[in-house]
Symmetry: C2
Subunit: 145 residues, 2 copies
DNA sequence: CCATCTTACTTGTGAAATGCAAGTTAAAAT
DNA sequence: ATTTTAACTTGCATTTCACAAGTAAGATGG
C-alpha cells in the first residue's frame, strides 16, 4: 500500500487542493514531464530543457519534489559529480494527470507536438501502459548512461 | 469545432506547457472546482470558499479565466449588482484533469472528502458524464437562484 | 426616499516568490 | 597541473501574493 503523509497544514482537506498545493506552479510538472516522457535524469538536462528554467528555481523544485516523495536521487556510480533523479511510484502515477492536461490543451489551444497528442488520442490506456513500462525498465539499469 | 487561440508568446509549444501556463497556480483550478462540483457562480461564493482566496487574487484569476475562454460572465437579470459566472465548454472539458488530480492525491496524500473520491473511483466515466450533464442543465436556467 | 446593507470589486503595503547573473565546490577530463 | 563539467548557491532587482481597508453601484427596510 502507498504511504500517505499525515499532511502538513493544508488550506483544506480537498484532494484537489492537495494536488494544487504540491504541483500548482509553473515548473514542477514540466520537470516531471522531462523525466517521464523525455527520460531526463540529471540537473543539467533539466536546465537545458526548452522552457529554460532558472537554476535556483530548478534546485528548489527538485528539493520540493524529493520532499514530497515524487522523485528520488542517487549518486551516479561512474561519475562522482552526477546525481541521478528518478521518478517514484507516486511520480509515475502522475501520468494520467499529464495525459489529460495534454489532451485538454491540444483540444483548446494552439499547441505543437502533435505526434505526442495523436499518440495519446489514439489509445490513452496503451500510452499510459507504455510510460509505466518504460520507467520500470529504467529503474533496473539506474546507473546506465 | 473548438476555437483555438493563436497562442501568445509561450515558453514552448508543448501542450503540457500550455496547460501549466494557463492553470499552473494555486487558485485557478480551485475556482473551477467550485463551479464544476459545488455549483458556485458568484464572486461572493468563491470568496467564501473554504481555502479563503484573497479578494484581489480572485478578481485577477476570474479576469484571466475569462480571457482564456474558460469561463464567461453575464448580468444577473434580477439583481443588477450580481454577475453570474459560467463554465464554457473549454472549462467543462477540464473535468478529466480534475478527476485524475483528485485520484492521484487521494492515492498518495492524506486527504478528506472520501465521498467524492469513492464516487470517482467507482466509475470515472459515469462521474464525468454526470458533471457534464449537471452543467448542461445549469446553462439553461442561467439566471435561476 | 433615505440610511443601511450587499455585491463586486480596487487600492495600498509589506512579504514572499521569481528571474537573472555571477560565483562556488568537488570531481573529471586533458 | 590546468581546464571543464556538474550541481548547485548567493545576491539583487522585479513580480506576484496576502492581508487590510476602501469604493461605487444597486438592493433593501422602515
Amino acid at each position: 500500500m502507498p504511504k500517505k503523509k499525515p499532511s502538513p497544514k493544508r488550506r483544506s482537506g480537498c484532494p484537489l487542493n492537495a494536488s494544487v498545493e504540491i504541483l500548482g506552479d509553473r515548473w514542477s510538472l514540466l520537470i516531471i514531464r522531462d523525466m517521464m516522457l523525455r527520460g531526463f535524469r540529471s540537473y543539467k538536462e533539466f536546465l537545458e530543457s526548452y522552457e529554460r528554467i532558472a537554476t535556483n528555481i530548478l534546485a528548489d523544485r527538485l528539493r520540493k519534489l524529493v520532499a514530497h516523495g515524487i522523485i528520488t536521487t542517487e549518486q551516479d556510480l561512474s561519475d562522482g559529480r552526477k546525481l541521478i533523479y528518478s521518478l517514484t511510484r507516486k511520480g509515475i502515477d502522475l501520468a494520467p494527470v499529464f495525459t489529460e492536461m495534454v489532451l485538454w490543451a491540444a483540444g483548446h489551444e494552439d499547441t505543437g507536438n502533435q505526434a505526442l497528442v495523436r499518440l495519446i488520442q489514439k489509445d490513452k490506456e496503451k500510452f499510459l501502459a507504455e510510460v509505466r513500462q518504460r520507467w520500470a525498465e529504467k529503474r533496473v539499469r539506474s546507473t546506465a548512461n
